[in-house]
Amino acid sequence: MSSLRRTDLLVLSNLRNDGRKPNEIRRMKIQLSPLTNSTCTNGSAFVQMGLTTVLCAVVGPLVCARRSDEKSDKAILEVNLRIAPFAPSSGDRRTTNPTTDRRIIEHASLIKNSLEASLMLQLYPKTRIVVDITVLADDGGRLCAAINAATCALVDAGMPMKDLVCACSAGLVTGSGSSADGLEDATLVDLNQKEVSSYSNESSAVYLPCATMPQRGTVVLAQCESRLSSVDVFERVLNAAMEGCQMVMEGCQMVSQIMEASIRERTGKLIAAKMGNASVKENF
C-alpha cells in the first residue's frame, strides 16, 4: 500500500502538514528597529513568517559611491541579499556566494524592481538608497519574506512610499484522479519548505510567489516556478494563478494589516518617547 501522500492528507482532513487551513498564512512576527546603531542604519526590520526569518537594514539617502551611477532625477535603489550559511532548512548546505549565485542575484533584482514600483525615488535625486537583506532562516518563501522585511525597513527609515509592498506565495495542488473525494484544486497560501520541495517532485502543482500592493490592488511581481501541469487545460492553471494572486492579495492584506499594526505601535512609541506623553498613543 502506498504511503499516505500530502494530497491525501489534505483531502481527508483539509489541513496542511503544519495544521493550517489552505487559505491561512503562517504566523507573522514583525519587529521594527531591531538594529539601533543609527550611524549605520536609518531603518531596520525583523520579519518572521512562520520559521522563515529575515533581517533587513536600510541606509539612505546616501551619496552615490560612483558619480557615474547617479541619476539626475531619481535615487538609485541598491539591494544586497545575503543568505546566512546556517540558514537553509534542509540539506542544501552549500555556502552560496552572493555575487555569483544566480538565484540570489535574480532574487535581489526582483526585490529591487518590486520596491521601485512603490518608492518615490524622484524625491531624492542623485542619491542612493541601500537595502541590505540577510536571510537568517529559510523555511520556504524567503523571497516573500525578504520583500516584506524590506518594506518594513523602508517604512522604519521614513522613506515615502506609494503603498506597502507585500509578498506572499500561493500554490495549487491538483488532487489525483484516484482520490475518492475528488478534491480537485486545493489552493494553498504561504507555502513552507516542505510544500515547496514536494512540488518539485510532483508534476501537477503550481508555486507562485507574488508581491502586491494591496491597497492599490495591483501585482508588482509574480513568478511561476511551476512544474508543468500535465493534464490541466490552460484556463484552469490561469484561474488557479489568478486565484493564487487573489489569495496572495488576501494574504497580503493580512500581512499588511499586521504590518500596519506594528508600524502604528512603533510610531506611537516614538511619539510617546518624544513628547513624554503616554496618552498620545491612544489617538492612533
Binding site: 559611491a65 560612483r66 557615474s68 551611477d69 541619476k71 531619481k74 538609485i76 535603489l77 541598491e78 539591494v79 544586497n80 556566494n97 552572493p98 555575487t99 555569483t100 544566480r102 538565484r103 542575484i105 535574480e106 535581489a108 533584482s109 526582483l110 529591487k112 524592481n113 518590486s114 521601485e116 514600483a117 506609494k162 518539485s200 508534476s203 507562485l208 508581491a211 500592493m213 492599490r216 490592488g217 495591483t218 501585482v219 508588482v220 511581481l221 509574480a222 513568478q223 511561476c224 516556478e225 511551476s226 512544474r227 508543468l228 501541469s229 500535465s230 490541466d232 487545460v233 490552460f234 492553471v237 490561469l238 494563478a241 489568478m242 494572486c245 487573489q246 492579495m249
Partner: protein, 582 residues
C-alpha cells in the same frame, strides 16, 4: 552589489545605451497609444497602438530559423526581424554521473554568452553557465550590471522553462546506470541584440535541442568503456523531449503619473522599446496551451486581470510560434537526413557516379586527380564490410571534395593579387564569369572601390600609349581577372544593398549566381567611358574558358602581378605621379 539604476536590468545610464529625452517620449507615446495633439484618438490603447517600426501592439517581428546538424552537434540560428540574432549549439559528451546519489541522472548545462558584438556596451565576459562545479566567475568581471543581470535572467528563464518545466528528463540521458551518462551542453550565443533576447535565446535553444541527434553508444561489456559511434555508422536518435516550451515576452508601459493603472503591453519589444519600458513579463507555453512558466520581475504594477489578458495573448502567440518551429524543424530534418544518406552512398560506392554528390570540377581547376568511381567502386565493394574502411572511404571522399574546392581558384577565397588584376580589368566587361563566393570578396571590393579610379587611369594610360606589349599583357591578364572583376562588380552592387543574411548551409554561390545576371548590365553602364577597351576584349571572351594550360600561363602572369601587389602603395603613388605628368 551595485545595481543598475532603473526598473529593468536592461536600461542603464551610460550614454550609449540610453536615449535622448524626446526619443524616449516619442517611443513611450507610441507604445502607450497616446498620440500627440494632431490626432484626437487616444482611447483604445491596445487597439490603436502603432509602434515605431509599424507594428501593432500584438504583432511580433518575422522570424527566420536556420539549422545545421553534424555528428554530435546541432546548431540553430534564430533571427527576429532584422536586428535580433541568436545562435545556439547543442553538443553532448559522456561523463560519469555527476551526482553520486542520483546514478541515473545525466546533466544538462546551459550557457548564455552576451557577446560584445551584439550590442554597444556589452563587454567581454565569460559566458554565464549553469554547469555545476564551474561557478559563473565571469559575473564578477562585468563592470556593467545590466549585462550581468540580463544574462542571468535569460539563463534563469531557460533553466526554469526547460529543466523545471519537465521538458528534458535527466534520467533519459543515462547510458549505463551508475557508470556513464550524457552531459548535454547547450551554448547560446547572442550575435545581435535588437531587443527581446529572452525569446530568441529560448527559441534557439529549444530548436537546437529538438534538432539534435544523440549518437549511439557501444557499451563494452568487458570494462573497456563506452565508445561513441559516429553518426555515419549508426543512425543517431533524437532527444526525449516531453514537450516543447516556448516563451513570449511583453514590454510594459505604465502611466508615468501613477494616477491610473492602465498598462500597455507590447509583444516582442525592439531594442529601443526595451530601453524605455517600465516593466517586462515573460510567459512560457507549449503547443498544448499549457503554461510552463511565468516570469514577471516587476517594475510595473499590474492588475491581476491585466496579467491574465497578457497571458491569453501570449498563449496564442506561443502556439503560432510552435507551429513555425515545427515546420522548419521538419524541413531541416529532412534535409539533414538526405545529406547523411548522400554521404553514406558516397562512402559505400553505391549507385553510379551521377548519383554521387561530388561537386563538378569546373574548368578552372588546374590539377585534380579524381578518384575514378568505376575503378574504385570495385575496390570499395570488397571493403564494404569493415567499419574502419568505411570511415576511411568517407574520409577520402571528404578529402577529395575539399581538394577540389581548394584547387578551384574560382571558388572560395580569392587572394589579394586577384583583386589587383580585377581593378585593372574594371573597364572590360564581358560574359559571365565563374561562380565566386564569399563575403570576403565583397569587403575587398568595397575597399577596392576607392582605389579603382586610380587604377582605371593607369589602365587608360596604357591603352592610350598604344604600346602593344603592355596592352597584350594587360589583355592577357585582364582575361582572367575580367571574370574576377565581374564578380567584384556584382559584389559591389550587392554590398550596396542591405545584406541578406543567409546563414543556412546552402552555399552563397547559388544566390550570387542569380544576381550575376542582374548586375551584368549595371557594370556595363558604369564603365561606359572605356567602351573601346571593352570591344577589344570582347573577341577574347570566348577564349576565357580555356584549358588548364592557358590557366597556368595566366597564373604565372598573376605571379608577376603578385610582386607588384606587394608594393601597391608605391604603385598608386606612381600612378598619381603619372597622372600629374599628363
Amino acid at each position: 552589489m551595485s545595481a543598475s539604476t532603473t526598473y529593468t536590468p536592461l536600461r542603464d545610464d551610460t550614454a550609449h545605451r540610453s536615449l535622448s529625452t524626446n526619443e524616449q517620449q516619442f517611443i513611450r507615446s507610441c507604445a502607450t497609444g497616446i498620440i500627440t495633439k494632431t490626432s484626437s484618438k487616444q482611447i483604445d490603447r491596445n487597439g490603436n497602438i502603432l509602434r515605431t517600426d509599424g507594428r501593432s501592439a500584438g504583432e511580433s517581428r518575422p522570424i527566420r530559423l536556420s539549422f545545421s546538424r553534424t555528428h554530435n552537434m546541432s546548431e540553430c540560428t534564430v533571427q527576429f526581424g532584422a536586428n535580433t540574432r541568436v545562435s545556439s549549439v547543442v553538443t553532448c559528451q559522456l561523463i560519469p554521473p555527476p551526482n553520486s546519489d542520483r546514478p541515473n541522472d545525466g546533466s544538462i548545462a546551459f550557457s548564455v554568452d552576451l557577446s560584445p558584438m551584439s550590442a554597444m556596451g556589452f563587454e567581454y565576459v565569460q559566458p554565464s553557465t549553469t554547469l555545476t562545479g564551474q561557478s559563473s566567475q565571469g559575473m564578477g568581471q562585468a563592470q556593467d550590471d545590466g549585462q550581468k543581470l540580463l544574462s542571468n535572467r535569460i539563463l534563469r528563464i531557460m533553466e526554469r522553462t526547460l529543466l523545471n518545466g519537465g521538458a528534458i528528463d535527466a534520467e533519459a540521458l543515462c547510458v549505463q546506470s551508475g557508470k556513464w551518462v550524457w552531459r548535454l551542453m547547450v551554448d547560446v550565443t547572442v550575435l545581435d541584440h535588437g531587443g527581446n533576447l529572452v525569446d530568441a535565446c529560448v527559441l534557439s535553444a529549444v530548436a537546437a535541442l529538438r534538432h539534435f541527434r544523440k549518437p549511439e553508444v557501444d557499451v563494452d561489456e568487458h570494462g573497456g568503456g563506452p565508445t561513441v559511434l559516429h553518426s555515419d555508422e549508426r543512425e543517431p536518435t533524437p532527444l526525449p523531449l516531453h514537450h516543447t516550451p516556448l516563451t513570449v515576452t511583453f514590454a510594459l508601459y505604465s502611466d508615468p503619473t501613477g494616477a491610473s493603472t492602465t498598462v500597455s503591453a507590447l509583444i516582442d519589444p525592439s531594442h529601443r522599446e526595451e530601453l524605455v519600458m517600465d516593466g517586462t513579463t515573460t510567459f512560457s507555453f507549449n503547443k498544448y496551451g499549457e503554461m510552463c512558466s511565468l516570469d514577471f520581475p516587476g517594475g510595473c504594477e499590474l492588475k491581476p486581470r491585466q496579467l491574465v489578458t497578457c497571458a491569453t495573448l501570449g498563449k496564442r502567440k506561443c502556439i503560432e510560434l510552435c507551429d513555425i518551429l515545427e515546420t522548419s524543424l521538419v524541413d531541416s530534418d529532412q534535409k539533414a537526413v538526405r545529406e547523411r544518406l548522400d554521404r553514406l552512398k558516397l562512402a559505400s560506392g553505391f549507385g553510379s557516379s551521377k548519383d554521387l554528390a561530388l561537386p563538378d570540377i569546373s574548368e578552372n581547376v588546374p590539377f585534380v586527380e579524381r578518384t575514378d568511381p568505376e575503378r574504385d567502386g570495385e575496390m570499395m565493394e570488397v571493403e564494404q564490410e569493415g567499419l574502419k574502411d568505411q570511415a576511411a572511404a568517407i574520409a577520402a571522399a571528404e578529402e577529395e571534395s575539399y581538394r577540389i574546392n581548394a584547387l578551384d581558384y574560382a571558388q572560395g577565397h580569392v587572394a589579394a593579387k586577384v583583386k589587383e588584376d580585377a581593378i585593372k580589368r574594371a573597364k572590360k566587361t564581358s560574359g559571365k564569369g565563374p561562380i565566386f563566393g564569399g563575403s570576403l570578396m565583397a569587403a575587398m571590393l568595397k575597399s577596392a572601390g576607392e582605389s579603382r579610379e586610380v587604377d582605371n587611369d593607369f589602365e587608360s594610360e596604357l591603352e592610350l600609349k598604344g604600346s602593344s606589349k603592355k596592352s597584350n599583357k594587360a589583355n592577357a591578364s585582364s582575361r582572367r581577372t575580367e571574370e574576377a572583376d565581374d564578380e567584384f562588380a556584382k559584389f559591389a552592387e550587392e554590398a550596396a544593398k542591405p545584406a541578406t543574411a543567409t546563414k543556412s548551409t546552402t552555399t552563397t554561390t547559388l544566390s550570387s549566381s542569380m544576381d550575376i545576371d542582374s548586375d551584368e548590365e549595371e557594370t556595363t553602364t558604369l564603365q561606359s567611358e572605356f567602351i573601346e577597351l571593352k570591344d577589344e576584349s570582347k573577341g577574347e571572351v570566348p577564349e576565357k574558358h580555356k584549358t588548364s594550360k592557358s590557366k597556368t600561363r595566366i597564373i604565372k602572369e598573376d605571379d608577376t602581378e603578385d610582386i607588384d601587389d606587394l608594393a601597391m602603395a608605391v604603385k598608386s603613388k606612381k600612378k598619381k605621379s603619372k597622372k600629374g605628368k599628363k
